[in-house]
């Protein structure tokens, strides 16, 4: 975006658009929290995503609460005769690394530990900076948000692996895989971070008093 003397938002002009039929309306109730509806199609009209900050924070905190049990508890119980193992995510990574399959170890490490953590930290950063109406690199933060939305569902990898192995490897006493108690919280973390990022409205990144942001 090139620099303009003024960067006006629709809100600054007292306008709001219906997200369903794109009817542009004036917004005389700008300072109220009233629920608006489109006079043409009847759909709700939002200036921003509903309750975006609260929802994003709520989902983020919920995800954070489940992040710890997801990493501390046993993810997968395996019987590979005569060994029996009960692996947390981290011990699984260590096991794979020690087995020499460092590529698999890295994949699991990134997908199951790094990505959820990065998502939590990044979303928290976005929410904090937005709340403080930070002018710090809004474009970079917007891109960060897009990346979060894109990679979010890939961190379900571990859950998929456990589900697949549980279904496939059932050789009784000799080899079997069973999900551990960490699977549900882990899936919860992934789902909640996706919900949190979906609740976040990137437009709020730019809600800093209509001033021209610093170049970013």
């Amino acid at each position: 975006m090139t620099a303009h003397a003024r960067a006006l938002r629709a809100r600054d002009l007292g306008l709001v658009a219906c997200e369903a039929c794109e009817l542009v309306m004036t917004d005389p109730h700008r300072d109220t929290d009233d629920r608006l509806h489109c006079p043409r199609c009847g759909e709700p009209v939002h200036r921003r995503k509903v309750n975006t900050t609260a929802r994003a924070w709520a989902f983020l905190i919920a995800a954070l609460a489940l992040y710890f049990p997801a990493n501390v508890l046993v993810m997968m119980k395996t019987v590979q005769f005569p060994l029996r193992r009960a692996d947390t995510i981290w011990s699984g990574v260590v096991f794979l690394w020690e087995r020499g399959t460092w590529d698999l170890a890295l994949i699991v490490l990134v997908a199951s530990i790094v990505v959820p953590l990065v998502k939590l930290v990044a979303l928290a950063t976005l929410l904090v900076t937005t709340r403080r109406k930070s002018r710090f690199r809004p474009r970079a933060r917007t891109r960060l948000y897009r990346v979060l939305e894109t990679i979010g569902h890939w961190s379900m990898l571990d859950v998929f692996v456990v589900s697949l192995l549980t279904a496939v490897v059932q050789l009784g006493r000799f080899a079997s895989v069973a999900p551990g108690p960490a699977v549900l919280p882990f899936a919860g973390v992934v789902v909640l971070t996706m919900l949190a990022s979906a609740s976040f409205d990137p437009r709020t990144i730019w809600d800093f008093d209509g001033q021209e942001p610093a170049r970013g």
């Binding site: 002009l13 007292g14 306008l15 709001v16 219906c18 009817l23 542009v24 309306m25 004036t26 917004d27 005389p28 109730h29 109220t32 929290d33 009233d34 629920r35 608006l36 509806h37 489109c38 006079p39 043409r40 009209v45 309750n51 609260a54 929802r55 709520a58 989902f59 983020l60 905190i61 919920a62 995800a63 609460a65 489940l66 710890f68 049990p69 501390v72 508890l73 005569p82 060994l83 029996r84 193992r85 006493r173 108690p181 919280p185 919860g188 909640l192």
Partner: protein
Amino acid sequence: MADLSDLPEPVVRRKRRHLPSAIWIVPALAILAGAVLAVRTYLSSGPTIKITFENADGLDADKADVRFKNVPVGKVTSVDLADDHRHVVATVELSRGASSLAVKDSQFWVERPRVGVGGVSGLETLLSGAYIGVDIGTSTDRADEFVGLEKPPSVTRDQRGSRFELTATDAGSLAVRSPVYLRRVSVGWVTAANLASDGKTVNLEVFVQAPYDKDVTDKTVFWNSSGLDVALDANGLRVDAQSLATVVAGGIAFDVRDPHAPGAAPRAGATYELYPDRARAMAPPEGIRVAAKLRFRDDIRGIGVGTPLDLGGIQLGVVDAVQPGYDDATHAFYFDVTASVFPERLGPAYTAVTALAPGKPVAEALQTLVARGLHAQIRSGNLVTGQAYVALAWFVAPPSAKAGAIATDHGAWVIPTEPGGSDVLQKQVQEIVAKIDHIPFDAIGANVQGMTASANALVGHLDRDVAPEAAKAFVQAQGAIAAMRQVIASIGDNVAAPDSAIQQSTRATLEELDRAAYSMRSLADYLEHHPESLLRGRASGDEPRGK
């Protein structure tokens, strides 16, 4: 830019409520779920205990677990050497529900495959690897350090049954886990076999499973049924075995002597005697023991420790020892036999015997029987094996003069002896031999010889006197036969010649007869035609026709 004043306005449907957003339920729930998970994880991890073992054979950390009744109740998290380098210490993390087994008297052992004469155990650990077995104690005192057993305990606490103490002079082939049989059904096993503190007897502890432990009463007798019970005694050869397993592994059997008197429940802590074999166990209860002394001056072959003292078929006692001695006066060996007599085996007769010497020791009463002629004698019980027994029998009519002649010896019943039964037999044989000796075989031989001579003479006489006459007679007879032949030949000549007088006269006679027959026929014909002629005579002219 369009004129913004013409744009429509959105419709306000409802005032927003200023209430806390419902979205905060989500993190609340998440925190709650996380807390529940954390608490549950904390609760499910039970206490950590340390168990010391001699070695860690087959015990791998992370692989081995702790099982009670084959239910996993914990897992071995590490196996380390003890500080003294003599033991290994297994650190076990018990699961939460199993924390109650970490009490003072719980027993832990490593379950491995074991092969013994009694069977194979722990075979499943060949595949699954060793695990730590546990028997939960009854104590309420908690503990977190245990000393593991090297072998599984022979009786775990959850097995119902009773333990009984046995004392034996010898453990035989009995060992821990040797089976205990009731009527050849395995109902228990030996749980401990230890020498008594004085080292003279063996204390055995047996466990009898419910409900068979009720069959152990105060009348029960236990005996060692190990191996083959081969007995060679006055009753002959007997072979007895409980089962093939006892032949190899040993075993204990029990029963009551009298099936009609099963007895009552035993006293607590009662100790039973373990008899060396069934015969001794089943022998009538010994009751009072009276020592007896016997002195034999003849051969005591076949008499030894355990030889029965027999009174009319009842085994009244048993020989305890045989001691040879030398009598300088008679220059002969003698044998002092000491025996145990159990007079109560006489049954009802016992009271009659004691009545003989009321108020005195039983030995005195028995001694009066000696005065009445009850003596001992060695008798052969089995001619094949040479086993003998000491028979108590009446030998002399009660001679009142000898009554009380023999006194008891320090409370021991002194039984005079008679020459042994084997001697008697020998004498009888000798008598038979002597009688055979008395048969006059020489005279009989001489007679037979005489008879033969006269027979010879007779034959000679016949030969000499009779034969020549006979020869003459034969010659004469021959002459007579020749004469006869001549007579017959002359007769034949006279009769058979065609021109002989007899022939001619005979022919003439026959012709005459022929004519006579013709005449007769003519007469018959005439008479047939003229039967009246018999009355009137022949009419004239009426000649009978004829040739």
